[in-house]
């Protein structure tokens, strides 16, 4: 759970972190923060984007990423509020399915001129269009390849984090290798699909879901976990994003909701909000128009706190490790990203 800073990281041994979530929950942000957190202690991580949105470039404030692994950040322990030395590195890659297919064909078949011809004919476009599974197998295949790639002295990357399609599509996206295997019942594509599937189903992979403490995202998370489990895909943790701290608890709201307007009004006067009037009635009149709006806001707040409690309970039933990230006012900039990364690290997600 959220507060076990002492325990070791929850995903020791996981090489491929797939981050999904309902649209609008901030999955790109969480994926990036996780890639940073995993890069602590001098590690190297790769952050992969598959939907052609250039969300990573946007987040890191850099120019659009080409189809090439580029370093986007370095991570010192101090940046994550940790001690020690060793600067980690985060690389990023925006996968383009067409490029990936060409690369794949080149790697395995040395196509040369025929490859060029295929491209000119629109065959590549055709292939990735007619068989969406093929498109997805290329995307996941590339991620798996990066996760298993050998580098000098071990693996090229200690961890690969994929900013994956949203929850509604994730099972299909990851399971699509099975689908391709169905389309291509034997042959090299079939073998490739099988190999990718083995990595995805292995304990080296974890699918994390990002949610907000709101009804629809939570419902989608619960459904998504069910689908993933049914498909035999490894479910990772739940990241509750944009959590707002409760300012007032229910008891406090109930206390003001009754006939305690007068006490609260007096307190507001004590707070110096009574205006310049010297008479008690003048002061009271100045505070009066504030009372209802403030109490309304408190009621709304209490309603939200209550709803959030229900959503938390629903998430707890999933019995998955969960992490909570605070809402950063004004959107997430680079500084915010490191803050979220430190939070994930502290909570044991990395």
């Amino acid at each position: 759970m959220a507060d076990t800073p002492e325990a070791g990281p929850d995903w020791e041994g996981v090489r491929l972190h797939v981050v999904s979530g309902k649209g609008g929950t901030g999955k790109t942000t969480v994926a990036a923060a996780l890639a940073i957190a995993l890069a602590a202690e001098g590690r190297r991580t790769l952050l992969i984007e598959v939907e052609g949105r250039q969300g990573i470039a946007e987040l890191f404030g850099i120019a659009a990423l080409p189809y090439e692994e580029r370093k986007v950040a370095s991570v010192s322990p101090a940046q994550l509020g940790l001690e020690g030395a060793g600067t980690g590195e985060v690389f990023a890659l925006a996968i383009d399915p067409e490029q990936a297919l060409l690369e794949y064909l080149e790697m395995f078949y040395k196509l040369g001129r025929a490859g060029k011809a295929l491209r000119k004919l629109g065959a590549i476009d055709f292939a990735t269009t007619i068989a969406p599974g093929l498109r997805d197998v290329l995307l996941t295949g590339k991620a798996c390849e990066a996760a298993r790639r050998k580098g000098p002295g071990g693996r090229a990357y200690d961890a690969v984090v994929m900013d994956a399609p949203p929850t509604g599509r994730i099972t299909r996206f990851l399971n699509v290798n099975t689908e391709v295997a169905g389309l291509a019942r034997f042959g090299p594509i079939h073998n490739q699909a099988q190999a990718v599937m083995r990595v995805i189903r292995s304990p080296e992979t974890a699918v994390h879901l990002v949610t907000l403490l709101e009804e629809m995202p939570v419902q989608e998370t619960v459904d998504g976990v069910g689908e993933l489990r049914e498909a035999g895909l490894p479910v990772g943790g739940v990241v509750v994003n944009m959590v707002r701290p409760p300012v007032l608890d229910e008891a406090a709201v109930r206390a003001v909701d009754g006939d305690h307007r007068e006490e609260v009004a007096r307190a507001l006067v004590d707070a110096g909000l009574g205006g310049r009037s010297r008479s008690a009635t003048g002061v009271r009149a100045h505070v009066e128009p504030l009372l209802d709006p403030l109490l309304d806001q408190a009621r709304e707040h209490a309603e939200r706190v209550l709803l959030e409690r229900g959503q938390r309970a629903d998430l707890e039933q999933l019995e998955l490790p969960s992490y909570e990230l605070p809402l950063l006012g004004g959107g997430v900039d680079l500084g915010g990203l490191y803050r979220l990364a430190a939070e994930l690290k502290r909570q044991g997600a990395a």
Partner: protein, 436 residues
């Protein structure tokens, strides 16, 4: 609403032209500093010439809810409406009293229709819609060949553009039936913002592509011509494909393509027709967003894209905007007040037992210090609200300064989710609230 709304109303009233092309009124600015035209949703819904409303926007901004709320409001204002949703949350379907939404429009009960209004709702079933097209455009035997082909099955269920294409196809069908005088369409949460605009063309050009002609080459002269043009032997290409895919795959693809080829003209024609339908004057696009940086960036992209495709944009629906009934109390003064109270509390109660503003502690009538703690909490809450509002406003204003001519309507945030028709009605009311 609030002083905020009044400020906007004033700003909206400065320009006689609702589209905001008249910029002479800018001297009389809204408190936020930017005048902007406001979007009159009710006028849009009431206009009998409005036949299609397309809601687009990035995921998670309340697009589907907005579409449903527009449907309810339009029906209750006397229109005969059908709402086409793509992938509604279960609760939203339930909120319209529909335990299941399928590919057929179902009447929504409980929508007051004393003025002749009616509401229907349906959910897109892309596979079934695709199957229906196949069945409608080919003889039974050919249809069977297509429906059984593994590539068709994969394409109809999962092609990234299939959902978008089928949404547009369904829209065309609904429009052609002419049973409703208003169709409200929700759009799929596409990976890139306006895939649904591209999808008809993409499928068309895909089926029109040279490669298809190559694949069907034995039967067609054009295929060989393309080969010759590239200076590559047919054998080389098919050889590579067989090597990569395996021979059976190529056969499956060829069968599928040959079968589709017969429906080809139909597809293209329909795609073109739907595209034109979207450009027609009876269509209105609403871009839905929340007052957050990312959502508004996506919204900006939508606005540009719609303009590039000459699609009629009616305006921007800004969902989940926070408001307050006490705008006169600034965040700074509220915080200062909260601190004063907390300091008082700490003096009276040196143990700090009641130091936290959140806990009132006592169960009965709050003591003076408990009331102070609560009041401090109220003030902190208010300060937070004012800060959120300031951020939302500046995000919105950045959008407005780039797109001064895009009419906007703001929908005040609800504390919870929508569960029923009343919730949708409430959103509708907020949508339709015209600056008086």
């Amino acid at each position: 609403m609030s002083a905020q709304a009044k400020g906007r109303a004033k700003a909206g009233a400065t320009g006689p032209d609702r589209t905001g092309t008249d910029r002479t009124g800018t001297a009389e600015k809204s408190p936020a500093g930017l005048a902007d035209p406001s979007l009159d949703v009710d006028a849009l819904l009431d206009d009998p010439d409005t036949r299609i409303i397309v809601c687009c926007g990035s995921g998670g901004v309340g697009k589907t809810t907005t579409a449903a709320a527009l449907g309810v409001r339009a029906a209750e204002r006397g229109r005969r409406v059908v709402v086409l949703t793509i992938d509604p949350a279960r609760r939203l379907a339930q909120s319209m009293g529909l335990s299941e939404l399928d590919n057929t429009p179902r009447p929504v009960k409980g929508v007051a229709g004393d003025n002749g209004g009616e509401l229907f709702a349906m959910m897109l079933d892309m596979k079934r819609t695709f199957d229906e097209i196949v069945l409608a455009h080919s003889d039974p035997e050919r249809a069977r060949t297509i429906l059984e082909n593994p590539f068709y099955q994969s394409l109809s269920a999962g092609f990234a553009g299939t959902q978008e294409y089928m949404a547009m196809e369904k829209l065309g069908q609904l429009r052609a039936r002419d049973e409703w005088d208003l169709i409200v369409v929700d759009t799929p949460p596409s990976r890139s913002a306006l895939d649904f605009l591209d999808a008809p063309n993409r499928l068309g050009s895909f089926l029109d592509g040279r490669f298809i002609r190559v694949l069907t080459a034995p039967a067609k002269v054009g295929g060989r011509g393309a080969m010759k043009f590239l200076g590559v032997g047919m054998g080389l290409v098919t050889g590579v494909l067989t090597k990569v895919l395996g021979a059976h795959v190529l056969t499956d693809v060829q069968t599928f393509v040959a079968a589709l080829d017969s429906m080809f003209g139909g597809f293209r024609e329909r795609a073109d027709r739907t595209y034109k339908l979207l450009q027609a004057p009876g269509t209105a696009f609403l871009v839905v967003a929340a007052p957050e940086r990312d959502a508004l960036r996506e919204a900006a992209y939508f606005v540009d894209r719609l303009a590039a495709d000459r699609m009629p944009l009616a305006g921007l629906v800004l969902n989940r905007v926070h408001t307050t009934g006490a705008p006169q109390l600034t965040a700074e003064r509220a915080l200062a007040g909260a601190e004063t109270l907390e300091e008082n509390g700490a003096e009276q109660d040196p143990d700090g037992a009641d130091g936290s503003p959140g806990s009132s502690g006592s169960t009965g009538a709050p003591s003076a210090s408990a009331a102070e703690a609560v009041a401090a909490g109220l003030l902190r809450l208010h300060a937070e609200r004012m800060q959120v509002m300031a951020r939302e406003r500046s995000t919105r204003d950045r959008f407005v300064s780039v797109y001064p001519d895009v009419p906007i309507t703001e929908v005040a945030a609800l504390p919870g989710d929508v569960h029923d028709l009343d919730g949708l009605r409430e959103i509708g009311t907020r949508l339709g609230r015209t600056p008086a």
